[in-house]
């Protein structure tokens, strides 16, 4: 349940999941969307499945889709590197719709040295996998972005990615200025 201390982005994110009728969320928790994972875990309307590596997520989402339900996978952009193979297979072999939320580590102003390689590989990977993507950095854009992501995935029969950063993550890079 949301509390007074719940960041606004996380509250809106959860509302967006409900409006999109998402019933399964699978994720490998990280710091940028930390409150979202906590809220998903405590939400009775969502089956939250934390995994050990991001390569498990595409199958979980595909199975959920084939069951007639909606799933969302959430990973830091570093996780794309783990998930590439099953995403590519489901995409190119099966034309499988799936929505990927990617938390944006290495955004402009990133001070962690280890975060920069994540952003350097993010866009090239998405482009090489032929995954349409959009950046989401303002809270007002969260709901329409998630709603349209599912429409785009279903309409294109393939994966789409939303790269979540800016004011839509726990500690934006610029907040450390």
């Amino acid at each position: 349940m949301a509390t007074d201390q719940t960041p606004e982005y996380a509250t809106v994110f959860m509302e967006a999941l409900k409006e999109a009728e998402v019933s399964v969320v699978t994720a490998l928790p990280e710091s940028l969307l930390a409150t979202v994972y906590r809220l998903c875990e405590s939400d009775n309307a969502i089956r939250y499945i934390p995994v050990t590596n991001e390569g498990e997520m595409p199958g979980i989402c595909a199975g959920t889709y084939l069951a007639g339900k909606r799933a969302l996978m959430i990973m830091e952009n570093s996780g794309l590197r783990q998930a590439c193979e099953p995403i590519a297979r489901f995409n190119f072999q099966n034309s499988m719709p799936m929505v990927i939320v990617v938390s944006y580590r290495g955004e402009w102003g990133e001070q962690n040295w280890w975060g920069h390689n994540h952003t350097l590989t993010m866009e090239p990977l998405l482009k090489s996998l032929r995954i349409p993507f959009r950046y989401v950095s303002e809270i007002i854009d969260i709901k329409p972005a998630i709603k349209r992501a599912f429409k785009h995935a279903d309409g294109s029969n393939g994966p789409v990615a939303l790269i979540i950063g800016g004011n839509c993550v726990e500690v934006p890079a610029y907040a450390k200025d």
């Binding site: 390569g55 979980i60 489901f90």
Partner: protein, 202 residues
Amino acid sequence: MQRIDAIRAIAPMITPDDLLTTSIGGTWDDWWNLKPADNTFFTGILGSVSSTALGLAVSLPHRRIIALESDGSMLLNTGIMCTMGAERPANLTILVFNNGIYECIGGAPTHTSRNTNLARMADGAGCINCETVTDVDGLTSTFARLLDDGEFGFLVANIEPGIFPWKTKERKPTDGIEDKYRFLRYVEKLEDVVIHPGAPQN
């Protein structure tokens, strides 16, 4: 016990109300010929057979979900054992055909032919009802029990190498796109839902 013997033994236990996923490889042609209905998603992705079944299982908790796995597929994604061990869907049964080799690419050994024990790994990962069988009688009785015990189950069937010589016209002819739609349309009828509708008119 070869894989074809194992599949012939379990096929009569599967009903059209069940949903399955299968590993790539020789299992495809065997199961294509012996499956009771279009109730199988032929997962052409080593390492994603159990995860796809897990997605089905948590979304359709009233239905029996079975993953026909292989040792090569399980070994490619051992983390899913931990996730299944954490979730333990009561309607999910994993059956691993363990021949100890990558048979389709010429028979290079997998680690289960050396020191890896998949059932013990699954047990350590938190899975319950983890067992290993080595003959048809053991497979038949154990699989039947795990299917209907109302709990998660993880069964390893140790099998001898051997690919059944299906004729060309008997081999699975479908590709991944057709596999998706055949299964998807089957689920739509089974669950009375629309998963992939036509394009909107506006």
